[in-house]
Symmetry: C2
Amino acid sequence: MDRISSRKNPKVQALARLMGPARARREAGRFVCEGLRLSLDAVRAGIPVEEVFLTDGFITRHPEAAAELIRAAGAAYAIDEPVAERLGDTRTPQGVFALCRMGEAFPPERLLAMDGPILGCECIQDPGNLGGMLRTAAALGFAGAILIGEGADPFSPKALRASMGAAFRLPLGRMDGIDGLFDRCAAGGIPTFAAIPSGGEPVDRLPMRRGVLLIGNEGNGLSERAITGARYRATLPMAGGMESLNATAAATILMWEMTREGREDR
Amino acid sequence: MDRISSRKNPKVQALARLMGPARARREAGRFVCEGLRLSLDAVRAGIPVEEVFLTDGFITRHPEAAAELIRAAGAAYAIDEPVAERLGDTRTPQGVFALCRMGEAFPPERLLAMDGPILGCECIQDPGNLGGMLRTAAALGFAGAILIGEGADPFSPKALRASMGAAFRLPLGRMDGIDGLFDRCAAGGIPTFAAIPSGGEPVDRLPMRRGVLLIGNEGNGLSERAITGARYRATLPMAGGMESLNATAAATILMWEMTREGREDR
């Protein structure tokens, strides 16, 4: 296994770029998983791991995980601790990084043809929020998610950490704008639900077993186009409610309501 | 209005300390609200604002809010932009800081005597997660929250931002350990519910209209003492579920289930 001791090594610099702004990942078609859990998740989800970088400390602490990663990767490199510290996006880097090839985005048509609800995220800004929503969608059995418009990148280090690898397993599609989505859904008879804080129909009265749940930007909510274009506007009937739920909490509860056991669509 | 131009001014240094680790806030019995929304929230929630610090830019952009803050505060100071930048915990400081006196923590007895469910947070580590849970609890009409053991400080800048001022309005109590809670709840006939990821009773079959919902640490969940000591162990019956929900998402759904309209306790 070759050893990398310099932070200026081109491979290290390439990793650092891929852990920065989204553009580098988009151009390279690659992203980086940091940490044991996420790297193993990528391997086990069948994501192609081109290169893996491990510190001696990591190999000593986790010999079996290290072996699995080295076996799965196209190439493996030992890195010195200072290199890991330079790269690490977390406060206490574990000493392992996996360079992965990004799969193709799912064509929205295929996603919409799947059995089960779809999460539609319009311009979610915070990578932690986006990752958290994808994790919740995966846990609750959503069929997939569509990212609409300009928003956080699900393959950024922070989003990957928050999603705990859900971004690998949940089919993900992308669309530049919302209009294309409504056209496709109308053609396929697929209902769309715009989540709005108040004034919509109570979520327990809507036929939400399938269809696309649209969640808007943290600060501004859904766009006017999304709200008026959707087949339904859905609101949580709240008992308390002097205060508002944040976007992630509202999305979590709406996803739960779409998938909870015993739900009967009327 | 006196003007502060130096970052080394003792008042500025005191503010900076209060925006750092929790210990400084505990010792001083004071905390700092940054930003227009949070500062006004504090004033309107009746929190005593001892001093307010505003940049010229803030006063120009928000003259009415500035006037309200200056009227409410014991003293007001103009600060230069570099001072605001030094203090700001956010990337784009708005140029307003309110130094507030912390109220007494609610005695747990009083909280437990209130009508409505109580959130019990055991050792939540991340201030954003804690603030988010408090905001959700307030929005869903919880009667209050009890912070158990060593965890994030709800009055840290990050927690205040995430809670959007819920920490001002939701009655908050503190307890060093969980045992005292169980003693008090048993004496008062108040049910306690330990949230566990699997193996507990389905949440829709539990009498959860009132009582204390116990949520554990993000990484390790609730302590053994909390799980075994609670009257009930509650689990979300999940339809999907190869993946797990994160602590915040699980807490959000459990709080929703405790307060949702149409809930019938059996």
